[in-house]
């Protein structure tokens, strides 16, 4: 056992691993409906039986409150699994498509086939969900899969390694734990798809590595997700939802949590007051002591966030919070008003419990501010103004958008979850996961009858006329051309 722990996972281990999984895939085992169902049921069982262990690991890694772990990671993974089990037969069925006169007579269909052996690299902030959800998609699509969980959430990483081995078919599903060296060794191999959740910086490294083998990628990255808040809202409800989308979301350490708010100069004071009240209601008088919020994941990120806060031009813009407790890795819910645009806190994705509020003259200006930054993973708008909603959807580009709420859109399995531009490539969730890990193969059936020598040389002007008419589906043209054809 000790020997195994000391063995470094390097190039030869990675190469051996992928060869093993390729052999498993080639055997055809993972393609069968029964295998996929057995694995998905295994995941379901795993989540149900080991809920306590999962909650404990998430608490160790992030001090995540039990309820937050439950609804943001455990339930969502379970629903994802249940959905796949329910729809799998339908998803696996070939899709018949219509064929036109140009290829008459023929029939055609689109067949979904697994890609082969895929690599899933997940993140530390929702370490359970962001590992399992893609793996569910990969399995549903019939692939063999290697999961590399984040080393920054070590308890969850090690739990995943143990659980997946215990509950699933280890000849086709494996976990590789580790950090940069192990990830690099994995990335050097030829995969049939790589899915990465994390930062834009590493996303580029993953894509460049994938390019060497022409491996397609899904990159779920980040960005600064803005929430634009109008004055005509039901303020109390609005504030509760903002809180749910910021501090109750892993203390703001979520790719889709609200990064900053834009509101009018006029409305800002009211909003700040309401936030003060709301935060107290949710987290008590001393929010930093509340057990209902996750902590900052580690000392590195704690320092990063404190630096953002302590920047000279930023610190005195704090209107609420600002307290920090280094030993507990906690930062209180903090609201800032009108920090300079070029301050660090407005340049990089915050990924923490600080919420800058930018004020504008009117909200259309707010749209411009959002569009001047890299496209975010999500954009939020709180308003009752129908025209504003329309403009928002039409003119702002983001991975996904939500009107009058935050975060929730990722729980709708019928909606694709993914970024655009700097916030990512590709999407998943529900059937989109199945599709993301499948190859859609076009299959066309022709018969030996009903052929026309028109297609082939020798070419004559008569053939040309008929060909033109056929391709254009021009019935009269076809008839005329055929008449002259048979006249010879």
């Amino acid at each position: 056992m000790a020997e195994e722990e000391n063995r470094v996972f390097g190039a030869s281990e990675a190469s051996l691993l992928i060869r093993e999984l390729r052999d498993s895939f080639k055997s055809g085992r993972t393609k069968s409906y029964d295998w996929r169902v057995s694995q998905l049921r295994g995941i379901e069982k795993m989540i149900e039986e080991r809920e306590k262990d999962i909650i404990q690991a998430l608490y160790m890694d992030l001090s995540k409150p039990e309820l937050e772990s439950f609804f943001s990671e455990i339930s969502t993974s379970k629903s994802s699994c249940k959905k796949a089990l329910k729809e799998l037969k339908k998803w696996m069925m070939p899709e018949k498509v219509k064929t036109s006169m140009t290829t008459y007579p023929s029939s055609a269909e689109i067949v979904s086939e697994p890609l082969g052996v895929v690599l899933v690299i997940s993140a530390w902030n929702y370490p359970f969900l962001l590992s399992l959800d893609p793996v569910i998609g990969a399995i549903a699509a019939g692939n063999a899969v290697v999961l590399k969980p984040s080393e920054i959430a070590p308890a969850t990483s090690s739990l995943l390694a143990r659980l997946l081995e215990e509950y699933l078919d280890k000849s086709a599903i494996r976990v590789v734990e580790g950090a940069v060296p192990e990830t690099t060794a994995l990335l050097d191999q030829k995969w049939d798809k790589i899915m990465y959740t994390g930062s834009g910086r590493v996303g580029r490294i993953v894509m460049a590595a994938a390019a060497r083998h022409l491996t397609p990628v899904i990159l779920e990255l980040g960005g600064k997700c803005p929430a634009i808040v109008d004055s005509n809202v039901k303020l109390e409800v609005c504030v509760r939802r903002i809180i749910a989308g910021k501090w109750a979301a892993n203390s703001g350490q979520a790719c889709i949590s609200i990064d900053y708010i834009i509101t009018t100069k006029q409305f800002a004071p009211k909003l700040i007051d309401a936030l003060k009240k709301g935060i107290e209601e949710s987290f008590g008088e001393k929010p930093i002591e509340s057990p209902d919020m996750s902590r900052i994941v580690n000392a590195f990120h704690f320092k990063r966030l404190v630096n953002l806060l302590d920047e000279e031009r930023v610190y005195h813009k704090i209107v609420l919070g600002g307290q920090r407790e280094e030993k507990l890795l906690k930062i209180a819910p903090t609201v800032l008003l009108d920090v300079p645009e070029d301050s660090q806190i407005m340049q990089e994705e915050i990924f923490g419990p600080m919420l800058p509020i930018l004020t504008v003259e009117n909200l259309e200006e707010g749209f411009e501010v959002v569009n001047s930054k890299p496209k975010p993973l999500a954009a939020y708008l709180f308003t009752n103004n129908e025209q504003l909603k329309k403009e928002f959807v039409q003119n702002v580009s983001a991975g996904g958008m939500l009107v009058n709420d935050a975060i929730l859109h990722v729980t709708v399995p019928g909606l694709p979850f993914g970024g655009i531009g700097e916030s990512g490539i590709g999407a998943y969730h529900g059937k989109f996961s199945f599709d993301a890990f499948s190859h859609k193969k076009g299959v066309m059936y022709r018969s030996f009858e009903g052929d026309s020598s028109v297609r082939y040389p020798p070419y004559t002007p008569k053939k040309q006329r008929l060909l033109k008419a056929l391709i254009n589906g021009n019935i009269i043209g076809i008839i005329l051309a055929l008449i002259s054809w048979y006249r010879k």
């Binding site: 393609k31 409150p65 039990e66 309820l67 937050e68 439950f70 609804f71 339930s75 064929t99 140009t102 290829t103 023929s106 055609a108 086939e113 996303g203 580029r204 894509m207 390019a211 022409l214 809202v233 509760r240 109750a248 209601e281 949710s282 209902d292 919020m293 580009s397 996904g400 958008m401 939500l402 009107v403 709420d405 929730l408 859109h409 709708v412 019928g414 909606l415 694709p416 979850f417 655009i420 990512g424 590709g426 190859h439 859609k440 193969k441 076009g442 299959v443 066309m444 059936y445 018969s447 030996f448 052929d451 082939y456 040389p457 020798p458 070419y459 060909l467 033109k468 391709i471 254009n472």
Partner: protein, 485 residues
Amino acid sequence: MEAIDDLDLQLGMLREYYYSGKTRDASWRRSQLKGILSLLKEREDELFRALHQDLGKHPVEAYRDEIGCLIKSVNYALDCLSQWMSGRKAKLPRAALLTSAEIIPEPLGLVLIISSWNFPFGLSLEPLIGALAAGNVAVLKPSESAPASSSLLANLIPVYLDNKAVNVVEGGPDVGQQLLHKKWDKIFFTGSTKIGRAVMAAASENLTPVTLELGGKCPAVIDSLTRSLDREVAVQRVLGTKFSPCAGQACIAIDYVLVEEKFSPTLVELMKGMMKKMFGENPKESGSIARIVNKRHLQRLKSLLDDPLVKASIVHGGSMDEDSLYIEPTILLDPPTKAAIMVDEIFGPLLPIITLNKIEDSINFINSRPKPLAIYGFTNNESLKTRMISQTSSGSLTFNDAVIQYAADTLPFGGIGESGMGKYHGKFSFDTFSHQKAVLRRSFLIDFWFRFPPWNDYKLQLFRAMYGFNYLLLLLITLGLKRSK
């Protein structure tokens, strides 16, 4: 070194035009598609001339493979545009009261289309149709190896399309490199696997999504057909789709044939007869064979035949006229499978036939090689068909014909593994140049109050019920009729 003057300025202007919102308009998109249609119809003769100059293509071949196909695609896009633009509603669980969810397509922005020399109009305009239908602005970089076509595109596009939205940039590899390192919202590349890697690596600098239409060795599995009609049609289709599209210089042309040893003599005889019928006694004079594109490719193809074992396996053809860039349609029988002609993508009018013990062995043969863009199966054996579908992997699979899947608007056209990533044609073109944006709208009226902290066991119970979509339980707990444990 060819420099692009003020490339950044040019791209800046395209982006500004995009931000003006003009290209979002359905009427603008329609006008562009109609512009492409007019270009194809009004300038047909010039297009034929350019293709003849660059590749020696006969007008019927040019119409069949490029012009006619494009006209079909534009008409299809015009018919479907409103539907494609309208997005669709997404299903919501019943718990989501007073909520609406939909997926709305939006353009990506500024896209780069790099096309190849073998179908210079088809491979430039087919993606452009998708890019414009989806509301993007675009830069088109045609291949310098088809200079007459490239220059014709550069002249015609500003006349027929909105030149504030579509620019043509001509040039060679240097120009290509410069373009690749700029920031794009999408890169669409048709060409070789080697360059495909370089394109994706460059794209990774800006996290630019890519569609790569690459190549491979597309095999045709020919079963021992018994009916003479079937044999004749099969041979006609195999030879017609090998030698006719650009003299075999096509990514989906049949690269090599697999046949059962017993059947191979019959096949070779039938092929010889059909060759005469299609190309006459003197194929060079028939005008029905395109040229090899340039000296470099001719030398490359010539060297495939240098290997004495390969040369010895020629059963038909084999002659060349280097000055006129002509290679006679050539059939080979069982060249060594380790020879270059059976390892590299041929991309020319040389057709190796490999014989196997049993036709089912073709599946392992194909699977031991990189995944091709297309696999073709000529057979009436339903179980062989089923096995081919489930046990081989390729961009697409066509039975009893070849190449024709290119014309199907409802089938995705693209590769897998080394033959590429992404797909287009029909709605897939629109989708490949769009972002499918998820939009969820909630009202302020209804909320699950237990969504928010502070947390307690009661809320946990409610969540369990809600996520289990167990509405009855949810109701009972809320009414206080079921207590927490």
